[in-house]
C-alpha cells in the first residue's frame, strides 16, 4: 500500500536556504543543492522548495536551483513561491519540478486552481494554505508571509480548493511554524477527514513523535520537516526508522 511520505521542506531566499520562526527572523541554513543532495541520499520521499522572496525579477534564481537539483536528485520535487500564471508553472515543470505549490494567486483567483489543474493535471497542483489565529481568536488564512489576512477559514478554503481541482494541500500553521512544538493536530485532522485529497502536515515538527502524531492522530498523508532537520540531530533516516518501528507504513527500500 501507499507509504506515508517524509518530506523535507526548504525555504529559499535569494538563492540560499533560510529558516525562521512564525514566518519571521530568518537565518541562513545552507545551500539549496547541497541540502537537497543530503536529503536525497537519506532517501527523503519528496522535496519541497518554497521561494519566500519570489518575484518576477528573481524568478531565474529559482529556476536555476530547480534545474540543478533535478539534474542531480532523481526524486520528486514540489516547487512554489510567487506563482502568478500558468506560464510560471510551465517554466518550473520544464526546469524539473513535478508539482507546483500555489498560494496567493489561488486565493485571489480561485479559478486559477481549476485552470492549472486542467492544464497540468490535478496531481501537479498543490495548494499551500498558511493560517494562524487572527485578532478574533479564530483560525484564518494569511498570505504575504503571514501579514495579510485572506478572510477565509482554512477549513472552508481547503474544501473549496479540493473541489476546484487541487491535487494536494500543504497545510501550515504559522503560529507553530519554526517553533518545534508539534503540528496543529486538530486542524490537520479536521481537514484531512473533510477532503479526499492528500494533506501534507506542516509547521511545528520538533520531535520524531510529532511526525507520528501528524500521521496517526492528524491523518496526514505526508509530513513536512524543516527546523527538526536544520536545528536538531534528527534526520530523514532516523525519522523513517522511528515511524516504521511505530507501525506506520513508510518506505523500506530507501
Amino acid at each position: 500500500m501507499i507509504k506515508t511520505r517524509i518530506i523535507p521542506c526548504l525555504l529559499l531566499k535569494d538563492g540560499r536556504c533560510v529558516k525562521g520562526i512564525n514566518f519571521s527572523n530568518y537565518r541562513d541554513v545552507g545551500h539549496p543543492i547541497t541540502n537537497a543532495k543530503i536529503y536525497d541520499a537519506q532517501g527523503a520521499d519528496e522535496l519541497i522548495f518554497l521561494d519566500i522572496a519570489a518575484s518576477t525579477e528573481k524568478r531565474k534564481i529559482l529556476i536555476d536551483i530547480v534545474e540543478k537539483t533535478a539534474d542531480e536528485c532523481f526524486m520528486p520535487l514540489t516547487v512554489g513561491g510567487g506563482i502568478r500564471s500558468l506560464e510560471d508553472i510551465g517554466n518550473l515543470l520544464r526546469a524539473g519540478a513535478d508539482k507546483i505549490s500555489v498560494n496567493t494567486i489561488a486565493l485571489e483567483d480561485p479559478k486559477f486552481i481549476s485552470e492549472s489543474s486542467r492544464k497540468y493535471g490535478k496531481q501537479c497542483i498543490v495548494v499551500s494554505i498558511d493560517y494562524k489565529l487572527n485578532d478574533k481568536k479564530e483560525l484564518e488564512v494569511f498570505t504575504h508571509g503571514g501579514t495579510k489576512p485572506a478572510g477565509k477559514s482554512p477549513f472552508d478554503w481547503a474544501i473549496e480548493a479540493a473541489n476546484l481541482g487541487a491535487g494536494e494541500i500543504l497545510l501550515t500553521n504559522i503560529d507553530k511554524e519554526g517553533t518545534r512544538g508539534g503540528y496543529d493536530i486538530g486542524a490537520i485532522r479536521k481537514i484531512s477527514d473533510s477532503v479526499n485529497i492528500p494533506i501534507i502536515a506542516s509547521g511545528g515538527a520538533g520531535s520524531l513523535e510529532d511526525l507520528k502524531r501528524g500521521v496517526e492522530e492528524g491523518h496526514a498523508s505526508a509530513v513536512s520537516l524543516a527546523s527538526i532537520l536544520h536545528f536538531t540531530d534528527q534526520n530523514v533516516i532516523k525519522a523513517r526508522n522511528y515511524l516504521s518501528t511505530h507501525g506506520i507504513d513508510v518506505r523500506t527500500d530507501a
Partner: protein
Amino acid sequence: MLAVIDYKMGNIRSVAKAFELLGADVIITSKAGDIEKAERLVLPGVGAFSDGMRNLKELNLINILNKEIVNNKKPFLGICLGMQLLAKESEEFGRHEGLGWVDAEIKGFKFENNKLKVPHVGWNNINIKKPNDLFGGIKNSAEFYFVHSYYMFCKEEIITADCDYGIRFAAAIRQDNIFATQFHPEKSQTTGLKLLNNFLNWKGL
C-alpha cells in the same frame, strides 16, 4: 542514441538527465528525423490525456511514432501519461481516443466514502508478475514513486507488474518492444535508475 520525445507535456528534463547520468547519448526532440535515427524511444509526460494526444497530433508525431515503434519495433519506454496514451481511449474529461497500440482504456480512481485519497501520490510497492530483463536486479516488491489519478485497465497478459491502491492496477505493461510504467522511474531514486539502466540494455525482444 536515445530520443526522449518532447511533446510539451510536463517534466521531461528529469528523464533525459537520468539517462545521461547512466551514460546514454540522449536527445530531447520532436523531430521526425531524430526519431528515425534513434535506437530507443522514450515517451514521458504528465498532464491531461486529451492535451497529450492533441500535442502529438499538432507536432505530427503520430505517424513517425507508429512507424518506428509499431512497425520497426524499436525498444520503447512510456512513462505515466506516456503509458496511458498507448491505450485505445480514456475517460479523463470526456471520451478521448489514444494511440491505440495497446488494447486498453484509461479509467479514473473512484472510491466510495473517500476511503482512499485521489490522486494516488507517493511511494508504493509494485508486485512483479512477469519478471523480465527490465526488472533485472529489482526486487519483487520494490517501491516506486507514483503520482496519478487515472490508470490503465487492460488484459492480464500484458501486465508485468501491478500495484495495490484500493484496486490492483497495472503498474507496468509490456507488449513486444513496448514497455511502459505508470510510476516514475526517473523519480524513484536508485531503484528507478536501475530500471532505466535495464531499459538501455534491453533489445525489446
